[in-house]
Subunit: 169 residues, 2 copies
Amino acid sequence: MLRLFFAPLPAAVRCRTLKNMNTCAATRLDELLQRLRKAGHRLTPQRVAIVRQLLERDDHPSVEQLHTAILAEFPTTSLATVYKTIHLLKQLGEVLELGFGELGSRYDGRHPRPHPHLICTRCGSITDPPCPDDEVDALASRIAKQSGFAVSSHRFDLFGLCPACRARS
Amino acid sequence: MLRLFFAPLPAAVRCRTLKNMNTCAATRLDELLQRLRKAGHRLTPQRVAIVRQLLERDDHPSVEQLHTAILAEFPTTSLATVYKTIHLLKQLGEVLELGFGELGSRYDGRHPRPHPHLICTRCGSITDPPCPDDEVDALASRIAKQSGFAVSSHRFDLFGLCPACRARS
DNA sequence: ATTAGTGCAAAACGTTTGCAACATT
DNA sequence: AATGTTGCAAACGTTTTGCACTAAT
C-alpha cells in the first residue's frame, strides 16, 4: 500500500504527485520514513499520514488539527495514536514542539531545528519569519557564554499582530 | 495586620526587615500593593503573601511552589486562590508568565518585562542572564520589521546545562 | 510468528469555575 | 453594609496510560 515510500521514485516524478510541495520537503519525507524504519519502527498508514501532514503543512498544526486531517484519510484513527506518533517524532528530533499556554501545543515538522516564530495574538497563526537563524543562534551563544551556560537548544517567540490582522484593525 | 504596607516605613528601615532583599524590590512591593488597592482590589493576607513570594524569590516559582510557601504562613490557602491571584497579577502586567510544556508554568514577579531566560534541562532551574535586554529587543524588532509584524511582546528561552550541572557531569 | 502499534476507555495532570461563607473595605 | 475574595469541590481541556486486538515486519 505504502510501498512507494520504500522504493522512492525519481525526484521529478515524486514532486509532481504532491501539490505545493518542493523537492526538499518530498525528499525529507522519504528520508524521514527511512530513518523511522531503520530505527526499528513500523510504517503504519496512520503513522505515515501523520508524518506527511507534519511535512506538508506550514501552519504549525495542533494535535487536534492533525487528528482531524488524518481522520479524513483513516476514519478510525485515535487521538492517542496522534499523540504517540508525535512523541516518537519528538524523541527522534524530527519535529519541533511549540507549547503555548493558551494556544496548546503546535508542531513544526519542516524545520525541526530551533528558529524564531511569529505568533499572531489575534488570529493565532504561527509563521516562520524570513530571518537568518544564525543571528538568533549568535545571540543565544553570546548570552550563554557570559553566564557559563552550555546551551543545547533555544526558542525565540515574537507575539503581536500579523500583517493581515494589522490591516483588519 | 498588614497595615505596614499601607503606610510604608523609610527605605532604610524597610530593607532591614526583609532579608536578602534590595531596596528596589522592597519599594516595588509597596508600590505594587498600592496599585492593587487603587485598582479596587482588596489586600487580603493571602494575596499579599503571594505577591511577596513573587517579589522576594528569584527562582521563578511554579504555582505549586508558591502554594507550598504560602501554606507555611496561611495553612488554609487554596490552590485556586493562588491561581486567581496570579491571574490578576498577569492581567495587571505585574508578573511574567513562563509556560513550559513539561516544567509547567513559572512566574517572574521581579522583572515583568520580556527578557531572556536560561533553563537548565537537568536541574530545572530558571535564571535571568546578566544580559542587556536591548539586544533581544533589537533582534525582535529587526525580525518583525522584515515580516510586517507588529510585535507587542516576545520571549527568548535558552535550554541547556547550568554551570553547576555542567560541573557535576 | 513476533512484536510494535492501534484504538478505546480510563486516568492523570494542570488549570478554571460556581457558589456559599467570609473578610476587607 | 456592601461586595470582592476565599476555599472547597466539581468541571474542564489536554496529554498519558493500560490493555486487548490488530497488523507490519
